[in-house]
């Protein structure tokens, strides 16, 4: 079993050199505002608007530790933090010379070295930063909890570079485990070979290939069979947005109304990507697709996307959530709830799934796109539990960035004029206002 460590990330482009992290660090560790006592320092060039950070990175192979002649610096194998022992330190300051990141420095007031100890895994500087330039990344916790489990998808699927669907399928199955029957209707997930051909398969769980129209009803039947023989097996659908919101909608709606026990996952890449980037019911306004082209008069899709997750809330599903792969810990937490909810009724998760090939953006920007769309309120993250009866945001929509920040990343929006961007902004604001109306908490239980 391996181990990963939490880390503090610095986004230089968001930093304005306000220095709140520096004073907060000094306040927490020495009860003064004197920056000399701070373990974090920011260099700010006002002319160039450039910020640099000096903070211990808790290196994997720390030079400060090997340079210390007194054994006063030790890397903790459990937390990854390099701890400084003030009783052992002989004040030779060799560590400050060895460190290439100015992560361990001499405090001129005391003459002793100071370094970050990650505030017992709850760093004060990150909480003090008003612009989210400092970020506490906790991906290591997911790795420590789940990383040791076998990937239930074989190595190598024939999906495109930077495919979000592949990322979703691998993480989802790792979390849900082998006692699962998977349905992959026609779409990218089946197309990349997940379902297999001629006796060869790419999933290590039972998997079948329903029609586009009957995914939910076939899974409902399979679950009823397992109920009859007394086995608790999770039913899981990896539907695309076409197979969910358009072609497969009738069977999904019926299964949701009947409260069939399954997890229905809609991997929403906003179009029929597997067959050549045609528009679907969830393609957003303004998008270029091969059936909503851009020309002299045409400016992409003229209609708005179908609010699929809200439609499923209205069906009274046991659990409904939206997710984005950029917020993976949030997604894992939602899968936890979905697995429990699927023992009683339908759990529906709608995953925003940027598609580098169909949306015309470089594959390396996959997670950047998934993150910016959430931050711009175009993909609000929320969950709905039927027993509670309300929608709860899992990512606060309050401090959002302009939609333009997201739109300019994506090639399919390259043609948008200002009027269209304004419309998309207004639509995003209205969506949030609408969702806010569903936040009324009213607990009820069914009569039987």
């Amino acid at each position: 079993m391996g181990i990963g460590y939490n880390t503090i990330a610095f986004h230089a482009d968001k930093c304005d050199g306000c220095g709140k992290c520096v004073t907060e660090c000094a306040r927490v560790h020495s009860q003064t505002d004197n920056p000399a006592h701070s373990r974090i320092h920011v260099a700010w060039d006002d002319k160039a608007k450039w910020a640099g950070l000096a903070l211990c990175r808790q290196c994997g192979e720390p030079d400060c530790v090997s340079a210390c002649p007194a054994g006063a610096l030790v890397k903790d194998a459990y937390s990854g933090v390099v701890f400084w022992d003030e009783n052992r330190c002989v004040d030779c300051h060799l560590c400050t010379l060895a460190c290439g990141y100015a992560g361990i420095v001499c405090n001129p007031e005391t003459g002793r070295v100071v370094k970050c100890d990650m505030c017992n895994q709850d760093p004060a500087c990150v909480k003090a930063c008003p612009r989210e330039a400092l970020e506490f990344k906790k991906g290591a916790q997911l790795f420590n909890q789940w990383g040791d489990l076998e990937d239930l998808v074989v190595p190598g699927l024939s999906s495109c570079l930077g495919c979000n669907s592949e990322l979703v399928v691998r993480h989802t199955l790792r979390r849900i485990g082998p006692d699962t029957v998977v349905a992959t209707p026609p779409g990218c997930v089946a197309g990349v070979g997940a379902v297999g051909v001629n006796g060869i398969t790419s999933l290590k769980t039972p998997v079948f290939h329903p029609l586009l129209t009957n995914t939910a009803s076939m899974l409902a039947g399979a679950r009823r069979y397992y109920n009859r023989i007394g086995r608790d097996v999770t039913m899981l659908a990896f539907g695309g947005d076409g197979g969910t919101a358009d072609v497969g909608f009738q069977s999904l709606s019926g299964a949701a109304e009947r409260g069939e026990q399954m997890i229905y996952l809609c991997i929403d890449n906003e179009g029929y990507m597997n067959t050549g980037v045609q528009r679907s019911g969830t393609t957003p306004y303004g998008s270029w697709t091969s059936t909503t082209p851009v020309g002299k008069a045409l400016k992409g899709k003229t209609r708005d996307a179908k609010p699929m997750p809200l439609i499923m809330v209205m069906h009274g599903c046991e659990y409904v959530a939206t997710a984005s792969t950029a917020y993976m810990d949030d997604y894992y937490a939602k899968l936890d709830k979905a697995v429990k909810a699927a023992k009683h009724g339908m759990a529906y998760i709608h995953i925003f799934s940027p598609c580098p090939t169909g949306w015309r953006f470089p594959p390396k920007l996959l997670i950047e796109a998934a993150r910016t769309a959430v931050q711009a309120n175009l993909v609000p993250l929320w969950e709905y539990e039927h027993a509670k009866g309300d929608i709860e945001f899992t990512y606060s929509p309050e401090h959002h960035i302009p939609v333009d920040e997201y739109l300019k990343l994506i090639g399919k929006y390259r043609h948008l004029d200002q009027e269209q961007v304004d419309y998309i902004q207004k639509k995003a604001d209205r969506n949030i206002a609408q969702l806010n109306k569903f936040t009324l908490h009213q607990e009820i239980t069914t009569g039987g």
Partner: protein, 98 residues
């Protein structure tokens, strides 16, 4: 690595004339596709596992003090290099004669 998958039934007992049931796992060496290769600077890696979280092919392997991609599977999409909070991964073009 903890094994999760188990054989649901004795595959030798499947009659030949039944509808096809897939029992063999396909492995595709997608590393062949790669145009750029991720190279990890071990000095900079702090083992935060961000690359593991976001790698679409989940080919990131743990080493004693760093993570690195399995190059038989890595397609070279560059997500890991873009997301690495300490810029420890750089993408290097694959050369013909390498």
């Amino acid at each position: 690595m903890k094994k999760q998958a188990k054989k649901p039934f004795d595959t030798s007992k499947i009659p030949d004339n039944l509808c096809p049931i897939a029992t063999v796992h396909a492995e595709l060496k997608t590393g062949d596709w790669r145009a750029e290769r991720p190279v990890v600077d071990r000095e900079k890696c702090v083992k935060c596992a961000t690359c593991w979280v976001y790698c679409p092919t989940q080919c990131i392997q743990e080493k004693p003090n760093w993570f690195e991609a399995d190059l038989t599977i890595c397609k070279g999409c560059g997500v890991c290099a873009h997301e690495c909070p300490h810029r420890a991964i750089s993408m290097i073009e694959e050369a013909e004669d390498d």
